[in-house]
Amino acid sequence: MSAFPIFRLPEVLNPVITTHQRHGFNRPKFPVSRCCMRNPAETRRNGGNYYELLGVSVDSNFKEIKESYRKLQKKYHPDIAGQEGHEHTLLLNEAYNVLMKDDLRKDYDASIGHVRVGFVGDSLDMGYSSWNGPFRPQALFVDEKACIGCRECVHNAHNTFIMDEIIGCARVNVQFGDDDTSIEVAVDSCPMNCIHWVEREELAILEYFNIPRPKQGHGVFGQGWERPQNVFMAAKTFQKQQQSQSQQKNVRCDVEQETEAQAQARESASLKLEMEKFSGLWEWVKKISAF
């Protein structure tokens, strides 16, 4: 993205286009691109969200985006809708191009996350951080149970941390959204020392346990929101459970005296199963957080 987009993409969100309009030789005058300098975030807010444009949810997968894109193209493509479809199709192509590429989509997610800070309540489903740039071995994690909501970290590295105004604590919105020094300052500035460097692999589990979940109540009693007392312990226990389960399976396998190849096949199969289980969990987690 260039720093100063003069010619913005047109702001056509839902143009009323009747298909198969016949306008013969009278080509409509081109909408002239206006020249103005707005910051990209503002442009996006006015130009509409790419997800809304394509009619997909924020966590939709490539397949859903593709299907939706094709459906919309059938309606708005200039080959079908005539010249009026031009501007809208430009937007669709742009949105598709961004959302179908992992790196571009992450950048875009980060940039709309930025816009979302203003909307109180919206941030509730933002429990998971996105990445700015390539993955690194370590990631930032805020233990929200310990956070007192002092805003120090948000002040020092506002592209990385955001404030959840409802819960009243900070959290990581974009991993490495700022340069390394301001992140370091932000980490050091925390009076509760609740900003942790964690392994990237652990991040997802930690963030999952970090989000308050509705508690099953009995009648009118005991309902509410809860999260583990110690999120690190909870994550560790979860991992241990996973490991012991797979070990148990292995033990059972050993009893049956198999060839090496068989053992290997079993091993990989059980590993795969475990992975599927895990990814299944993630699908579920995502669904929950999408509400």
Binding site: M1, S2, A3, F4, P5, I6, F7, L9, H20, Q21, R22, H23, G24, F25, R27, F30, V32, S33, R34, C35, C36, M37, K63, K66, E67, R70, K71, Q73, K74, H77, P78, D79, I80, G82, Q83, G85, H86, T89, L90, N93, E94, Y96, N97, V98, L104
Partner: protein, 569 residues
């Protein structure tokens, strides 16, 4: 923003722009495939695509025009007594290879040595002199004129076929065509009284046909299929990679090159008679004989391993040779390598893994050659060609489908619920950083597209900048096609590198190119000069001298350099 004025500059050489509107037409357009060697016509008859046959019951008609005393006759209705008559000097053919080319083009100079009519090249970047022999006098002509004469006959044939006047047509064109070549095709149609509704790249037409077949056979609209289309005709080769689901085919990559059966033919002629250029006193007749023999040999080598050639070229020159498959493949090694690199480049560009390709579709006459077939199948690691498509009729059938689609025809069975989302085959950009070509809309960008790149001045206190727009994929700017140029004035006095010159390009679905330029000073909110919007010319002035003259007159004084060396999204 109301105080800003916006100047829109429309090109005066743009004669076809308004007519090329992509509006749907009530009249069903006829699909025409103009091949370098053969042409065909097809139309949507209400339930399916039907090919129109000529009076001799042919679906494929030879593309040539014979000039005679009275009036020229094209290959649609003409009855040739013998193939040699076509090669007597009075017939002009290979129009598609020659159209819109200047005489410094290697294709033209090669053609001048091997075609049995007059092509003279001066090598100075002007139109070549093309003429046919009529009663021992050379009658000069142009590829457009020849094409128009031929199209008039096709039009008459179509009118007989559909029993109504025909005006609207959809034409297939090679992906390698430049914008100006496309305009020349449109003009040839206009000369013949035809209105071009769409010019679609040949693989796009095939993609449409494939999407229709997939939609009718696969009922689950969610499943998508990846196909590689390789088209090699007499004049051009194209490759496209498409992803199809639910009647929509999305192009992932498109590449084209001027390499085709004509090259094979020329190489084979050379192989048979290495010093043929300076051998003949009565050039044309011998060349005709040699051409027929070589063509015949190539055809036979598709099915047998060796072929006997026994011809008398007159003047005491006789060729008596046996040419086998190996020799033929060795003589044309370069051609096959070019085809292979075209396919690999397209695969790389589209970032599609060979393993994900479901179908390989081969179209065009040259895909009958075993070497070509094996090459494409080898690269794609497939051993079965997609069977549902006739290689010689696919393009014209696709064009006829598009003709029905553009007219807004609805088919109750849903077999016209189709769309091809195309990409552009060539990058479009401007000259900057001295002599390099900086693409603004890169090739294989989904159309319609709009992109921008920020440039800056190359010199201190530079107040003007020349925007020279090129089309092509070469890094050195001269190797690309010059599309046009204009000047940006009123850049404030500033050290070099300060002003930001924002160049934005926009291509719409009817392939019209607009360039918009705005000048900004850092820190200021509004552009210093009103943004300039230019609709680029669609036709050239017929010579290739412009770039040289621009260079001589201005040197680097009006140059630009890239500021953000990054494409904007």
């Amino acid at each position: 923003m109301s105080q800003e004025q916006v100047y829109t500059v429309a090109s005066d050489s743009d004669t076809t722009g308004d007519e090329r509107s992509s509006a749907p037409f009530p009249e069903i357009a006829i699909g025409i495939d103009i091949g370098t060697s053969q042409c065909s016509l097809a139309v949507w008859n209400g339930s399916q695509v039907e090919l129109i046959r000529n009076t001799r019951n042919q679906k494929l008609m030879k593309s040539y025009v014979t000039f005679r005393d009275e009036s020229p006759v094209g290959g649609v209705s003409d009855q040739l007594s013998h193939e040699y008559e076509m090669l007597s000097g009075s017939s002009v053919f290979n129009m598609k290879r020659l159209i819109g080319r200047i005489d410094t083009d290697p294709i033209v100079s090669q053609a001048s040595k091997t075609l049995p009519f007059l092509i003279q090249t001066l090598g100075i970047g002007v139109k070549p002199f093309i003429a046919a022999l009529v009663n021992n006098m050379w009658r000069s002509t142009t590829p457009e004129e020849v094409l128009a004469i031929y199209l008039v006959e096709l039009k008459a044939l179509a009118e007989v076929g559909v029993k109504r006047p025909v005006r609207n047509v959809v034409l297939t064109v090679p992906a390698a065509f430049s914008r100006f070549q496309l305009t020349r095709i449109s003009r040839a149609c206009a000369m013949a009284g035809l209105h071009v509704v769409r010019l679609m790249p040949e693989p796009a037409a095939v993609a449409l046909l494939y999407a229709q077949q997939q939609q009718l056979s696969v009922h689950d609209s969610g499943s998508e299929k990846v196909a590689l289309i390789f088209n090699m005709g007499a004049g051009y080769s194209d490759v496209a990679i498409i992803v199809t689901a639910g009647g929509v085919s999305q192009m992932k990559g498109l590449a084209g090159s001027t390499v085709g059966g004509e090259d094979l033919l020329q190489n084979t002629m050379h192989y048979l008679l290495p010093n043929m250029e300076n051998l003949f006193p009565n050039k044309i007749k011998s060349m005709g004989v040699l051409r027929v023999a070589a063509q015949d040999a190539i055809h036979k080598l598709s099915s047998q391993s060796k072929v006997q050639i026994d011809i008398d070229l007159g003047n005491g020159i006789k060729i008596c040779k046996i040419i086998d498959l190996e020799e033929f493949e060795e003589a044309n090694k370069e051609v096959f390598e070019k085809c292979a690199s075209l396919v690999t480049r397209c695969l790389q560009d589209s970032k599609v893994n060979v393993e994900h390709i479901d179908d390989v579709i081969l179209v065009g006459g040259c895909t009958n050659i075993p070497k070509v077939k094996n090459m494409v199948m080898g690269i794609c690691k497939k051993n079965k060609i997609y069977p549902g498509i006739n290689p010689l009729e696919a393009a014209v059938r696709g064009a006829a489908l598009e003709g029905a689609l553009a007219a807004g025809v609805n088919d109750p069975l849903g077999s016209l619920d189709l769309l091809t989302i195309q990409v552009n085959a060539h990058s479009i950009g401007i000259r900057a950083n001295r002599d390099s070509f900086v693409p603004i809309i890169a090739r294989n960008t989904t159309m319609p597209a709009r992109r921008e790149v920020v440039f800056t001045t190359a010199h201190d206190h530079q107040t003007e900048a020349l925007i020279v727009v090129y089309e092509g994929d070469e890094e050195v700017v001269e190797k690309n096609y010059l599309l046009g140029y204009f000047k940006v004035v009123g850049i404030p006095l500033a050290p070099r590198g300060k002003p930001e010159i924002n160049v934005c390009m926009d291509i719409d679905a009817s392939n019209l190119l607009r360039v918009m330029v705005g000048v900004l000073m850092p820190g200021e909110q509004n552009p210093v000069v009103p943004p300039l919007e230019v609709r680029m010319p669609t036709a050239d002035d017929g010579n290739g001298l412009t770039a040289d003259v621009l260079n001589r007159s201005f040197g680097s004084t009006l140059d630009l350099v890239t500021l953000h060396n990054k494409m904007s999204r």
